[in-house]
């Protein structure tokens, strides 16, 4: 007795916080780090890059083309390439994810700034806004809904993609899947999938909430249209 495979809940209870590397709690924290850092990085890079692309239009095609090529690179060879520099570390996972994030966010930032109606920009100029103040007080706020829509895609895909890092032993919750190769034991797989989906849903929910707080004028618009 007691030699059969443990039930799902028993397994979770036993592995949640073992104090050793590889506990579910540790994997969860790793997963969060490796998905959130790329999102932040993507935002920090894509915002100024997007602004530059709007200011100097000729920059946009090469920049977005380059980012799309990076986006198209399969992650496995990218990992292999990076291992020689950054080793089997979290950084090796974070770097490609950050670039993927920029690839999605750059068009969102440019699209958001393009969504500022020309007559609004013109009237801001005519009212006597300086270029910087116009950007901060008029153009960026109006771009927020489009940028946030892009950020939602980046957040969810980043959280999901981290698990690929398991191939180099840095997959966060993705690590739970590789064990199933060696041993057809389902609880880790179920826990991995459920936690990743939960994380994605929570991140998406927070961004939706942020959108409501930051852009009340969009929410009201939807209400008025219905």
């Amino acid at each position: 007795m007691g030699d059969g495979p443990p039930s799902l809940w028993e397994w979770i209870g036993r592995n949640w916080d073992t104090g050793r590397a590889g506990s579910i709690k540790d994997l969860l924290i790793d997963h969060l780090t490796m998905s959130l850092v790329p999102i932040l990085f993507a935002l920090i890079v894509a915002l100024p890059l997007g602004l530059a692309c709007v200011r100097w239009r000729w920059l946009y095609q090469p920049a977005s083309g380059l980012m799309n090529v990076v986006y198209a690179l399969p992650s496995l060879p990218v990992f292999m390439l990076l291992i020689s520099v950054t080793g089997l570390s979290q950084t090796t996972v974070i770097i490609p994810l950050a670039f993927y994030g920029v690839a999605v966010l750059l068009p969102a930032v440019v699209g958001g700034l393009d969504s500022v109606p020309d007559h609004v920009r013109q009237s801001a100029v005519a009212m006597g806004f300086s270029p910087l103040r116009r950007l901060l007080a008029v153009e960026l706020p109006i771009a927020v809904p489009v940028v946030l829509a892009g950020l939602r895609v980046v957040a969810v895909s980043s959280i999901s993609l981290v698990s690929v890092g398991a191939l180099i032993g840095q997959g966060g919750l993705g690590g739970l899947f590789t064990r199933a190769y060696q041993n057809p034991f389902m609880p880790p797989v179920i826990v991995g999938i459920v936690l990743i989906v939960l994380l994605a849903l929570i991140a998406d929910g927070l961004l939706v909430l942020a959108q409501r707080v930051l852009t009340p004028w969009v929410r009201v618009r939807k209400g008025a249209a219905s």
């Binding site: 109606p117 007559h119 609004v120 013109q122 009237s123 801001a124 100029v125 005519a126 009212m127 006597g128 806004f129 300086s130 103040r133 008029v138 706020p141 109006i142 852009t215 009340p216 004028w217 009201v220 618009r221 008025a224």
Partner: protein
């Protein structure tokens, strides 16, 4: 006063938008720039607040060249209204109106109080203050646009086809509102439009521009209609400029007959073919004729001394009697202008 001194605008591709323009927009008056598309009217307007810089010549604002003033500073002192209002979608109406006061560093409360005052001044419900622009109709948005332009009380107002995106009924009310506001505020207004009727209605002076940015004629609307300088202006004014000129002829001296009115309770025979029935308050009810004494026929009225000859003539055409009814502010009948009286006035207008 705004002075254009031999101003030319040549774009990098070689197009000349404005060609050697010299004119003045006097203080406290509405100067309208009108012309077909490509005549440089909007370019001329935008050179005043330096949204476009002139290639040659200079523009003076009360004697000071605008080139010598830093653009944001210059623009904060000049109200600007554009076609689609250009309101900020992410700001509430009150904050939209207070835009320039905020830029000038006014205290927030003072700026908002001023915005509320202007909201009422342009004829809008103060309850709209907390709304966002998309929740307002096109006409309301345009009024907010005017309020925003007036917020910091600039002496100069530039208006770039502000009323051309709204329907005709709203446009008429906005035009009247502007004239009423101007009566109170006496701003120096430069108004751009492609609509000659709007130009004639609003302008103290109208500058007609031709394609290529050359000034064809600058004159008071009445002069423009009676003495167009050349075929281009004549054609641009359209076919019925004789009729339109009547809107500048007052009905003040129009001869009225007071013996054609009868009370509602009837009676009072007369030799006249038509008699006007009035009610107890003295308001017009309808015309009756000899042939059909039981039927009231429609009538048309004009405000005596206030409305133009064009309105008086229009009122006459609305009634089978051929006469128009002169009323006062309270709608009481002052008298009747018969065809003979209208004829006399028209003959006088044609002479003068």
């Amino acid at each position: 006063m705004i002075t254009f001194d031999a101003v030319t605008k040549r774009f990098p591709d070689g197009t000349v938008a404005v060609d050697d323009l010299t004119m003045e927009a006097p203080t406290g008056e509405i100067t309208v720039l009108v012309g077909p598309s490509g005549c440089g009217k909007t370019t001329s307007l935008r050179m005043i607040n330096r949204m476009i810089d002139a290639s040659e010549g200079q523009i003076l604002l009360d004697g000071v060249p605008v080139q010598s003033i830093d653009p944001p500073t210059l623009r904060r002192g000049i109200g600007y209204v554009i076609q689609q209002a250009g309101l900020f979608p992410h700001r509430k109406i009150v904050d939209n109106i207070a835009t320039v006061p905020y830029l000038l560093g006014w205290d927030r409360k003072k700026a908002r109080d001023r915005a509320m005052e202007l909201l009422e001044r342009v004829g809008l419900d103060p309850a709209l203050a907390g709304r966002y622009p998309f929740q307002l109709s096109g006409g309301q948005q345009q009024r907010v646009g005017v309020a925003r332009a007036l917020a910091a009380d600039p002496p100069v107002l530039l208006m770039d086809e502000p009323f051309s995106a709204v329907d005709p009924v709203v446009r008429t009310s906005l035009q009247e509102e502007l004239l009423r506001l101007q009566g109170e505020l006496n701003k120096t207004i430069v108004f751009v439009t492609h609509d000659i009727d709007e130009a004639i209605k609003l302008g103290d002076r109208v500058a007609v521009l031709r394609v290529g940015g050359r000034l064809a004629q600058l004159a008071a609307p009445k002069t423009l209609l009676s003495e167009p300088s050349d075929d281009f202006v004549r054609e641009f004014l359209g076919h019925d400029r004789g009729i339109r000129r009547l809107q500048f002829v007052s009905t003040e001296g129009l001869r009225l007959r007071t013996d054609l009115t009868v009370r509602q309770d009837g009676g009072g025979s007369s030799e006249e073919p038509w008699r006007l029935v009035v009610d107890e308050q003295g308001g017009p009810v309808g015309w009756i004729s000899w042939s059909r004494p039981d039927e009231l026929e429609p009538f048309g009225t004009f405000l005596y001394g206030r409305d133009s000859m064009r309105s008086a003539l229009d009122a006459a055409l609305l009634s089978p009697s051929g006469c128009s009814v002169a009323v006062d502010d309270e709608g009481k009948v002052v008298g009747v202008a018969t065809r003979e009286a209208l004829d006399e006035a028209l003959a006088e207008a044609a002479d003068g």
